[in-house]
Symmetry: C2
Subunit: 366 residues, 2 copies
């Protein structure tokens, strides 16, 4: 009888971080593509762009002028998605009892206060993480750490922020509206849904097994080897078994660091170094400035003891490209209405990433 | 003191269908856009394209020839994401007990069998739903109904399909690889994650309230009025309170129809008619062939009594456009790593859609 073949037969893989399944259709990687292709943009950026609102010395919205910053520069987003200065929401009920009870069941609302920051990685308009020096990336990590620390201790009229999400949208395919290398940080007085789900699942895992989900997972992957892409003293990068995006990776702290607060100098350095390597591999994959959304998951700024202790520092990379610099994976139709779906397997993606240079960038070999 | 203003203050709205929250930042609709814009493609399609693999009489992959079909035409996808003919997956365990237990916790896998169909809506290469006659759209609905009925009674080697997901990806922005009007149907021997979650939440709601979630929701929206876009004897279309996509809508059966099996002739006609109207409004919104993913949610083909009885026929429309034919909403960074997020409110979107013509298509008024 036929044997089940992971590279040919459809299967679902379980994502223990968010308690859902991903449908994997490995044989489908073979089909031809006739749909939309991303435009390939040559990297011809200048080091300084007089029209860029993120470059040092330039004017932003509302007439604010950037300082002549030299390393990493943080400012409050001029169009923040959340604000501190707004009234609380109080549900207004009608007099009709039935309608009131339907409303509070079906039109549930919470007000959200928060703050949004933009983090310019470098004053140089043309640099991206893989093109920056490790020392310069260390400034980015230090900036994250400092912001985390400050916001943990800062309250606005007695309201403490519960979570800060650090992320980067890279490339126009990922909705990035300015190529100047930058990330964002959104902090809220609530734990965002996706983070809350992860922490809930990590807590459940800890309560039933007495060990940490990501700690156990690293142990297993180190034995299995096939999905590991990069490793140094403090961190590991792998294609998770349950990856959704074709070349998705998960960067995990090897020891139990709950948040950036736990980072020693060595961790800062090792994180900067492995970030440079994974993004270099990404650029080398399709010889393009590789688009992705990436973001840090860690302990809440303020949360229950369980929420804080069961968190484990990690970074998700969600890159859309599938076959080339111009053909991406679409998470549409079935993926939106049925179930997350991928074509090539995590193991196949890992082999591709393992084979790439993590030191030398393709632009330096031209 | 300031009053909470839904059009100016950040808040979260609860989605009772999937038990998550959406962050709403209404003031943010005002910011300028400097990022990627979709290319505007003029609709210059021919009624017949000799190179289209979906047109009548043309050759598809593997040398199969389409018949000269006159209405709606269904065939098995030449590159199906799931297949019937594959072995079952049996977990292979090592001898080491510890590793085995980690594996079965963290590398959970299920095999998935199924089938994928392509449904050509019309032989005319240039037509889309809003450009088709109601009679012709009735053929599409009849085809869905027939497929649902057939697959409910069909088993492959004793395996019954549990769910069939009907969906359409329209437009290259939604990963559609061929402009010939078509939808798809994927059937699986498992209930897909997103559908399963909805049914679970509907069941929970029924068990605690003794009434149906969507039945109650319609009742409430009919009283509130402001989010309703279209209505006829059998169906209602509204912008759900918890919408994620800027102009997302939800089409709901007014009476408790669990699935297409419950459809009388009148329902088929009313569904075809309201589908034509909502897609006409969509095209008229930005004077473009409006991209979206849409899909049907209904009772499983085979499920528990609870799963079947608590299902309620509805259709989700997820359209990406935000401000114009070329500027779309990106669900990236914070949305992927933190929480679903939208800018304009559902009520603002509903007002826009209410004001548009649902009878006359903009191309007919030129
Ligand atoms: O129409 P196709 O080529 O089968 O494929 C399209 O729909 C599928 C199901 O939503 C997606 O997985 C693909 O990314 C998309 O291009
Ligand atoms: O960088 P911007 O302009 O703030 O915005 C970008 O990131 C945000 C957070 O992920 C998204 O909501 C926007 O759609 C995207 O364009």
């Amino acid at each position: 009888s036929m044997k089940f073949d992971f590279t040919d037969h459809s299967h679902r893989r379980y994502n223990p971080l968010n308690d859902t399944w991903v449908l994997c259709s490995p044989h489908r990687a073979k089909r031809p593509w006739q749909g939309e292709q991303e435009e390939i943009k040559k990297n011809e950026l200048l080091e300084y762009d007089p029209k860029c609102y993120l470059c040092p010395g330039n004017e932003r919205a509302m007439g604010i002028k950037n300082p002549n910053y030299m390393t990493t520069y943080v400012f409050r987003n001029d169009y923040p998605a959340v604000k501190i200065d707004q009234p609380d929401y109080v549900e207004e009920l009608d007099t009709k009892e039935k309608r009131d009870s339907l409303k509070s069941r079906l039109l549930k609302t919470q007000s959200v206060k928060g703050n949004c920051f933009v983090i310019c990685f470098s004053p140089n308009h043309s640099l991206t993480l893989p093109r920056m020096e490790v020392d310069a990336i260390m400034h980015v990590v230090e900036t994250w750490k400092q912001l985390y620390f400050n916001l943990k201790n800062e309250s606005s009229e007695g309201v403490y922020y519960k979570y800060i999400e650090f992320f980067e949208n890279k490339g126009s395919a990922m909705g990035c509206s300015n190529p100047h290398p930058h990330g964002q940080a959104w902090c809220l007085d609530t734990i965002p849904t996706i983070v809350g789900e992860e922490i809930k699942n990590m807590t459940k895992y800890f309560n039933s097994n007495g060990t940490h989900l990501l700690g156990d997972y690293i142990e297993l992957e180190v034995e299995e080897k096939q999905r590991i892409v990069l490793e140094n003293d403090s961190f590991i990068v792998l294609v998770p078994y349950w990856a959704l995006w074709p070349f998705e990776t998960l960067l995990i702290a090897k020891e139990h660091l709950c948040s950036l607060i736990d980072f020693q100098e060595k961790h800062v350095q090792d994180l900067a170094s492995i970030l440079k390597k994974i993004t270099t591999k990404y650029d080398n994959l399709f010889c393009t400035s590789f688009p992705y959304s990436m973001g840090v998951h860690q302990a809440p700024l303020h949360g229950t003891e369980d929420e804080c202790n069961n968190s484990w520092f990690h970074i998700h990379f969600y890159p859309p490209l599938l076959r080339s610099a111009s053909v991406k994976k679409f998470c549409v139709g079935f993926e939106m209405l049925g179930e997350a779906q991928r074509d090539l397997t995590s193991e196949q993606a890992a082999v591709r990433l393992q084979g790439l240079d993590g030191e030398k960038h393709y632009l330096d070999t031209l």
